[in-house]
């Protein structure tokens, strides 16, 4: 009987302590996410190099990985440049000068432009949502990141303290509506993301996107010319086709 009481006491004690421990990890994860988001959102200008890989699941179920390097430069509120080098060597980029979005492909010698006066945030959304173009990790580059993350802070958990390439990080995981996201946030200095892994758990084959973010610079040289399209000699202007979407239900 006494043993039974002891067991009940232990269970009661565990039940009392365990949730607080879990919530404590959640609080810390949320705090880290918020710190990162606020820091990135406040930056007036920045540049970062993003080395990323992503899975493509084919009809057969075969999963193939592709990769690329992106050098992103922002001068908020209305200038952006992204230079992309794919693993196969293809070079292309995106420019936004506050009035016009431009994409170019140095190897195919083509470019396209679309008028879109406004902010980088709005231009990035238009670029992805309306033009159906790629801009991985757009969320991290926009000033509304803190607001965007609010909805998932409740799901955030601290996985642990981990070393990535000799850098001390907090490994944080949270669940989005369609994707599971893991972030490794630097523990020392500014709360910058060091790595991001996104698992599209609802997609066939659950493909992943993974990126390492390095070379953060919050005082890059950002002259106007950096964001202005100057087509290469012989480059041809081509149209953009965007999906036409209409709610059917």
């Amino acid at each position: 009987m006494r043993a039974a009481h002891r067991t009940l006491f232990v269970v009661f004690l565990w039940a009392s302590i365990a949730p607080s421990a879990v919530f404590g990890e959640g609080d810390r994860a949320a705090t880290r996410l918020e710190a990162m988001a606020n820091f990135l959102a406040r930056a007036e200008r920045l540049s970062v190099t993003i080395e990323s890989v992503y899975d493509v699941v084919h009809d057969s179920g075969q999963k193939v990985q592709f990769g690329e390097r992106r050098v992103v430069t922002l001068r908020r509120p209305d200038r952006a440049r992204v230079d992309v080098t794919r693993r196969d060597g293809a070079r292309r980029g995106v420019l936004f000068d506050g009035n016009q979005l431009a994409v170019f492909d140095l190897d195919q010698k083509v470019y396209a432009t679309v008028s879109k006066p406004g902010t980088v945030d709005a231009a990035f959304d238009y670029f992805v949502d309306d033009l159906d173009m790629r801009l991985p990790l757009r969320e991290l580059l926009k000033t509304d990141l803190p607001g965007q993350l609010k909805g998932v802070l409740g799901t955030a958990r601290l996985v642990g303290e981990e070393q990535l390439d000799g850098v001390a990080t907090d490994h944080v995981a949270f669940r989005g509506e369609k994707a599971d996201v893991q972030l490794w946030i630097r523990r020392d200095g500014d709360p910058l993301p060091k790595r991001v892994v996104i698992t599209y758990r609802l997609a066939e084959g659950q493909p992943q996107f993974e990126a390492d973010l390095d070379g953060w610079n919050f005082a890059p040289e950002v002259p106007d010319t950096l964001f202005t399209l100057t087509p290469a000699a012989g480059a041809e202007q081509i149209p953009m086709l965007a999906p036409r979407r209409k709610e059917t239900q």
């Binding site: 493509v56 959304d125 949502d129 033009l131 989005g176 509506e177 996107f209 202007q237 081509i238 709610e247």
Partner: protein, 206 residues
């Protein structure tokens, strides 16, 4: 910019012509989406956190826990490129099977372009692809040179091709490079983040 607008107009004409070809087969272009390579698109290529607001298309403006409105959002992720590619591949395969009749059909259906165009639009309106719990029709619009936001109302277009599987002859007219495979003509466009090819009218003088 003017050239892009002119090319856009040409594309719309060509897309109408594509409808004619669709009546009994595509215009003998011998094209293949993917060209034997492995597609680069797909949901993970987008690198998005996978959440959007219902109106602005922004990621989790209020978060999925704030309301159930995300299920009703109007815009799919860029990741549906992969699904669209699959659907396009299937359509392309079907068209190629009918390809031998293309030239005759081009003539035969020439008087019925408007009707066919409408059929084509309706067909593609029904070519829904699944994404994140919502179904969306596929179409495309020429946007370069148009005011932002006006793209969706320009035209319904045939899906483009990632590559040509013929060895095309090229002609440069008015600063635009045209690619010819048999009787079919194509120009380059941006689509889904990549440079692709879409059918067009023959350039002036051809």
């Amino acid at each position: 910019m003017t050239r892009a607008v002119a090319l856009g107009a040409a594309l719309m004409l060509a897309l109408a012509a594509d409808v004619v070809a669709r009546g009994g087969g595509r215009g003998g272009g011998g094209l293949a989406r993917g060209g034997g390579g492995l597609a680069r698109g797909g949901v993970a290529a987008g690198g998005s956190f996978g959440q959007r607001s219902p109106s602005g298309g922004t990621y989790a403006g209020r978060g999925p826990a704030a309301s159930g409105s995300f299920a009703g959002r109007s815009r799919p992720d860029v990741g549906d490129v992969g699904a669209r590619q699959d659907a396009m591949s299937e359509r392309q395969a079907q068209r190629q099977e009918r390809g031998t009749e293309a030239r005759e059909d081009w003539q035969r259906y020439g008087d019925h372009r408007r009707e066919e165009w409408q059929d084509y639009a309706e067909d593609h309106y029904d070519d829904r692809y699944y994404h994140g719990g919502d179904y969306y029709p596929y179409g495309a619009a020429v946007v370069a040179g148009a005011a932002a936001g006006a793209a969706a109302d320009v035209a319904v277009a045939a899906p483009p091709y990632w590559s040509l599987d013929c060895v095309p002859t090229t002609v440069v007219v008015g600063g635009t490079t045209y690619y010819r495979c048999d009787s079919a003509w194509y120009v380059r466009v941006y689509s889904g983040g990549e440079v692709a090819y879409t059918m067009t009218s023959p350039p002036a003088g051809y």
